[in-house]
């Protein structure tokens, strides 16, 4: 599983190990250099010391190499096993040597530092030539000894690391767990919630690293809650609005059932037919409204011919208009008016305006698309009673019906037109016309067009 704790642990332990290994490597190389420097200095010093002892004649030089051994052994006892010393005469005979020194010359070099292999052992040797005494002093130690010295230092480091790293891992584990507490608290708080609980998470005392996440979650909760609230109120409204026509239908049906009078009977049945028509239109509009509220705003991409859209919507409504004896006049003498609109929303708005106009018109409905500089407008006019001035503001709200209402209206048409226009960045404006009737305009700003 992908876990932050696991990742953090891997990263922290990995970097810790890397640092330790780097440190050990660095210490190894620097110790090696330091050991070389110090031991070389010791070789130099020891050689000089032997040389000066020889010069002061504290050590007698004899030709017999074997007999001189004890004297030197005493003088070089301090360096036993670590340092070896040989004193050669310049002509190549061994004058003296320390106990640990081999019989063969430690080096072929005449002077200074050199490395040579004697008896399979690599020696680091410092040589001083003393021409006055006619001797050459060689002091050397083995590289094996030097390596062991460095190895001991590194071994100490590795041992302490082996003990410290498990402790470190434990500490890292605890720290990571502790550091992740706010995150696990948040996860806990979220997983404890029921699906319906959408109250915002507490944002006080949240570390600033997860504050943006909490804020985003809270904003999402807010949006979901608002959408649900809209849905709830819409459902309540829809249920309410459907109950009244249902009550009307039922009452008319009961009238039809209980009456023996043919005229009453026929009237009731006619009312039922009209009522069903009205109710089905209401249902359609409710569905349109629900779709409108649920859909996301879509970018208006296509450049549409408004004349074409107007003609297609009008064509759909012609049969309805003719059954009501109302003429629809489309003024298409103007040039082709084009605008960037989402056709689905525009058609919805226009159809509802035209249906509304047909509901109220006495004899004629006029529709026309106009290109007017800043605005592209589609105007729908009827010759009905218009809307009372105080109601003009209110009628675009959902389920509001003016006093000059039709038999078939639902109080949703203008609301749908308004919301659909808002969806395409346009607007709906209403005003009464002289002498009577309503002018409804769908306006689309040129910038958006």
């Amino acid at each position: 599983m992908n876990s932050i704790r696991g990742r953090l642990l891997a990263i922290l332990i990995g970097t810790t190990l890397f640092v330790w290994i780097a440190a050990i490597t660095w210490i190894y190389t620097s110790t090696q250099a330091e050991v070389e420097r110090v031991l070389d200095a010791r070789l130099t010093e020891a050689a000089r010391m032997v040389n000066s002892l020889l010069a002061d004649h504290r050590i007698p030089i004899r030709d017999d190499a074997t007999s001189s051994k004890p004297a030197i052994r005493a003088a070089t006892k301090v360096y036993e096993r670590q340092l070896s010393c040989q004193i050669w005469s310049l002509d190549g005979t061994l004058v003296a040597r320390s106990e640990s020194a081999p019989g063969l010359p430690l080096t072929k070099a005449m002077e200074g530092f050199s490395e040579d292999i004697v008896d399979g052992e690599t020696w680091r040797v410092f040589t001083i030539e003393n021409p006055e005494l006619g001797v050459r002093v060689m002091v050397g130690d083995t590289l094996r000894m030097r390596d062991r010295l460095v190895g001991d230092v590194v071994k100490g480091m590795v041992h302490s690391a082996a003990v410290a790293i498990p402790f470190l891992v434990g500490l890292i584990w605890l720290s990571v767990s502790h550091g992740l507490i706010p995150l696990s608290d948040l996860a806990c708080a979220l997983s404890r919630r029921s699906a319906n609980e959408l109250s915002p998470l507490p944002s006080a005392g949240i570390p600033k690293e997860i504050a943006p996440a909490v804020q985003a979650i809270n904003e999402l909760f807010g949006r979901v809650e608002a959408a649900r609230e809209r849905e709830r109120s819409f459902t309540a409204f829809a249920a309410h609005e459907l109950k009244t026509p249902l009550a009307g239908l039922k009452t008319q049906a009961q009238v039809a059932l209980s009456s023996t009078d043919a005229a009453v009977h026929a009237n009731a049945l006619q009312q039922i037919v009209a009522g069903v028509d009205r109710t089905s239109r209401l249902v359609n509009q409710l569905l349109d409204m629900a779709a409108l509220e649920a859909s996301d705003v879509q970018p208006c991409s296509s450049d549409e011919s408004l004349n074409h859209l107007v003609n297609s919507v009008v064509a759909d409504l012609l049969s309805l208009a003719s059954t009501r004896g109302i003429a629809i006049e489309v003024d298409s003498s103007k040039d082709d008016v084009r605008a960037k609109v989402e056709p689905q929303f525009f058609i919805l708005a226009l159809r509802n305006l035209l249906e509304n106009a047909l509901d109220h018109a006495k004899s004629v409905v006029r529709c026309q698309a106009l290109d007017q500089g800043q605005w592209v407008r589609v105007v729908v006019e009827d010759d009905g009673p218009g809307i009372l001035e105080p109601e003009l503001e209110r009628v675009t709200a959902k389920f509001v019906r003016g006093r000059n209402k039709s038999m078939t209206g639902s109080g949703l048409g203008l609301a749908i037109a308004k919301i659909a226009m808002a969806r395409i960045d346009g607007k709906l404006t209403l005003h009464n016309r002289e002498p009577t009737g309503l002018v409804a305009m769908l306006e689309i700003p040129r910038q958006a067009a």
Binding site: P245, A247, T251, Q254, V264, G275
Partner: protein
Amino acid sequence: MRILIVEDDPLLLDGLAIGLGLKGFTVDAVANCEDGRIAVRMHSYDCIVLDVMLPDGSGLDLLKELRAAKNCTPVLLLTARDQVPERIAGLDAGGDDYVGKPFDLDELAARLRALARRGAGRATAYLEWRGVVLDPAALRATKDGVSLKLTRREFAVLRALMERPTAIVSKAALEEALYGWQEEIESNAVEVHVHHLRAKLGQDFIKTVRGLGYRLAEEGA
């Protein structure tokens, strides 16, 4: 029994007016608060059916106005908003009954009769006077157990008289009980109906009080 219906939905208003008319009510129907206010001022009703959501305001406001003006006409609230808090608000505003949409026409009629009965302070659903029994629900009348054949208008006149047997009911009040606004009042209709009723119930059942109106004869008079 004359009732006022205030309801803005034309389909329902038409159905109620005709349907309750068939159940023996005399119905006045209006579609908004303002018209309702005028109707209540002009006539006294036995009962009012009031929608809550009206185009020019809330039916509850109209109801509160009525009660503030000491009008005790029983009011039945008829609304799609039938959740408990809304019912409580409606009843507390002065409503006498609360019916949610959609409803049953027969039940609505029965509730209206019950409201009118309670409004008139009577205990039984039947009206009874000197062996004549009126069943307003079934629109049936009997005299000494024998069924009477009455027209709708005759029944309405008899009911108006039997609701307050000893009181004098004016000719205008009887006309009001008989006709809604939409109906043309025939000039001597009340006299004609009383004449027919006397023929069916006995000449002395209904007395004419000269210059004032009609009342039922007292027991043994």
